[in-house]
């Protein structure tokens, strides 16, 4: 008696689709059958072909079988503009075969036989069956269709050929026969106002965990790029990183004294204030001070292009070019128009995990809100970012514009913001004696003592200065200060 040995294990077929292997924890399971479901235009064909060309480049052999009347010439022609397309793979590694007439004339049994024989003839390690809806239409009953899908699964598993079945679902939504397979990936395009959002979510993935939820994606010249939700990517198993330096200073003497040396490394700070209060300059001071200390610092900007930012900082005596030139200060910019929150998350993770950024300034919060199709997500996104920074020892600054420049109330830009940020710096502009004055105060500095005074913030040709406490005035926090007898202390240290 002998044992032929089991073929179990968890071998994966990498998809090569950026982000998808992360969602699937390494790719499709070899020899298993997966369904890609989505309405026309959802991106199923591009996704499947992207996997095909990636697999072919790694020595795999692909049978791409279409059940639709669309010609292969047209299909290949449409793909040829995408960077992953490689015509040299045809027909040796990738064979496009039409099963339209076989299905039409012989039904599901003839299709099953064709698939089985072609897989063996081509020695295919990946099969794509494009257009299951055509098989659904010719199936004499739901039972017959289920039997066909089950048979397909058994055969492809036996021959070790990973299978992707593409279907629109026939407009009937999710049916039992769609859930028989080893995994189901749903691609959707949703409209929010005038914007559209493409999303992928894994409804089912047998024998493996995966990243839950809806992950947004784009169709680019390189094919599909998927952005896993930031909330699913943070490694909660890691402990907060320990920093060599006890504090991260801003390089503004008066402010660093208020902070008893600076903020704690790995902490998160929200810099609040109205437009023109100096939030961006304050954040850039923080980055420049880090860069001077050899800590890689990153300005994640939405409103100021690098050129404009450099002109502004030069105007206040800050020379950032040398820091940028030596690589200690990085600047990235994306206008706050059509951003995707998860794409921003992916870019932030690259900065933190791959480029070793130690100080990160996200400038500012409302651009994240604009990028979110579902506004309630931003707090969870920020919580994930704060946690990521904490465990990686990255000190995070986020600027946020307050709704009003003057008035008795401090309206935080988002519910829960103050809970997320360990430190809150508040920049204010106040009218005093017919003059606009800027001041700064610390609303919160977790786990640390700090100076509770309201101090004047001066933006001069030589940089930012934090002066003496503003005395001789009250109700500064309202933005409508009132002198209290003696002329208020003014300007400088």
């Amino acid at each position: 008696m002998t044992d032929s040995g089991s073929r179990g294990g968890d071998e994966r077929l990498a998809t090569g689709v950026p982000g998808l292997d992360t969602v699937l924890r390494g790719g499709f399971r070899k020899g298993r059958t997966y369904m890609l479901m989505g309405l026309p235009g959802a991106g199923k064909t591009i996704l499947a072909n992207q996997v095909c060309y990636h697999h072919a480049a790694r020595g795999g052999r692909i049978l791409y079988l279409t059940l639709l009347a669309e010609s292969h010439t047209e299909l290949v022609g449409n793909l040829s503009s995408l960077s992953f397309f490689d015509g040299a793979r045809l027909p040796e590694s990738i064979s496009y075969v039409s099963a339209f007439s076989v299905l039409e004339q012989g039904g599901l049994d003839a299709l099953a036989e064709l698939i089985r024989k072609e897989i063996k003839a081509q020695k295919a390690t990946l099969l794509v069956l494009d257009g299951l809806v055509a098989a659904e239409e010719v199936a004499p009953s739901t039972q017959a269709l289920k039997r066909f899908i089950h048979g397909l699964q058994v055969v492809t598993n036996l021959v070790g050929c990973t299978t992707l079945v593409l279907t629109t679902g026939g407009g009937k939504g999710l049916q039992a026969e769609h859930t028989m397979v080893d995994g189901l990936l749903i691609l959707k395009q949703r409209t929010f106002g005038v914007r559209s959002l493409r999303e992928l979510f894994v409804r089912k993935f047998r024998g493996s965990d995966y990243l839950l939820g809806r992950h947004s994606f784009e169709i680019t010249k390189d094919g599909i790029v998927l952005y896993p939700r930031l909330e699913t990517l943070v490694d909660l198993g890691l402990s907060p990183a320990q920093s060599a330096s006890p504090r991260h200073a801003f390089g503004i003497a008066g402010l660093d004294r208020m902070l008893h040396g600076g903020v704690i490394p790995g902490s998160s700070t929200l810099v609040l204030g109205p437009s023109g209060a100096g939030k961006t300059l304050l954040g850039l001071c923080f980055l420049a001070e880090g860069a001077r200390q050899g800590e890689k610092s990153h300005h994640f900007a939405f409103y100021d292009s690098p050129e404009r930012m450099l002109a502004q900082t030069a105007g206040v005596g800050m020379a950032l070019e040398p820091l940028i030139a030596r690589g200690d200060l990085e600047v990235s910019f994306r206008p706050p128009m059509e951003n995707l929150l998860d794409k921003l998350g992916a870019q932030l993770l690259v900065a933190i995990r791959e480029r070793g950024v130690r100080r990160l300034f996200v400038d500012g919060l409302d651009a994240l809100q604009k990028a979110a199709f579902r506004p309630t997500r931003v707090a969870r996104f920020l919580a994930a970012l704060v946690n990521e920074c904490r465990i990686r020892g990255v000190t995070l600054l986020v600027s946020a514009e307050t709704m009003t420049a003057f008035g008795p109330q401090l309206a935080l830009p988002m519910q829960g913001t103050s809970m997320l940020a360990e430190n809150l710096l508040y920049l204010r502009t106040a009218e005093l004696n017919a003059e606009l004055r800027r001041f700064i105060c610390i609303l919160k500095l977790r786990n640390s003592q700090y100076d509770h005074a309201l101090r004047e913030l001066l933006i001069t040709e030589k940089g930012l200065e934090v002066g003496q406490p503003l005395s001789g005035a009250e109700q500064l926090m309202t933005g409508l200060a009132r002198a209290t007898g003696a002329a208020p202390e003014h300007r400088g240290k």
């Binding site: 040995g5 089991s6 058994v154 036996l158």
Partner: protein, 121 residues
């Protein structure tokens, strides 16, 4: 040469193995439980039995025991298929085990070993 008898209560597996072996040129018959398998073997002794372990009505070991007690079937090679490997199989008098999931190459090499090559077409 007798046919290859495929016995499994899962029709999808029976059908797939039947089709794949037929493609290779083997003659096959199928049964969905042990009792059906005994009936098929009474009609024509097979060259090889691919026998699932767990089945309703009459399971794999019971079929094996019945075959070993039958002079006409005693020497027919039996390959036991199952998803659950178990040490208690060791006492069974089958010719080989084929743990599920198995691949086509494993299947064909096992069949070739015990049934020989398919008849020339």
């Amino acid at each position: 040469m007798g046919p290859i008898l495929i016995v499994d209560d899962e029709f999808g597996i029976v059908e797939a193995v039947r089709d794949l072996l037929s493609d290779e040129g083997y003659r096959t018959v199928i049964a969905l439980n042990g009792r059906q398998a005994m009936e098929r073997m009474a009609e024509e002794p097979p060259a090889l039995v691919l026998l699932d372990y767990m089945m309703p009505v009459m399971n794999g070991p019971a079929v094996l025991e019945a075959m070993r007690a039958d002079a006409a079937l005693r020497d027919v090679p039996v390959v036991m298929m199952s998803a659950s490997a178990s040490a208690q199989w060791k006492h069974l008098t089958c010719s080989a085990f084929l743990p599920k999931p198995f691949g086509l190459e494993q299947l064909l090499s096992t069949v070739l070993r015990f049934a020989g090559p398919p008849p020339a077409r």
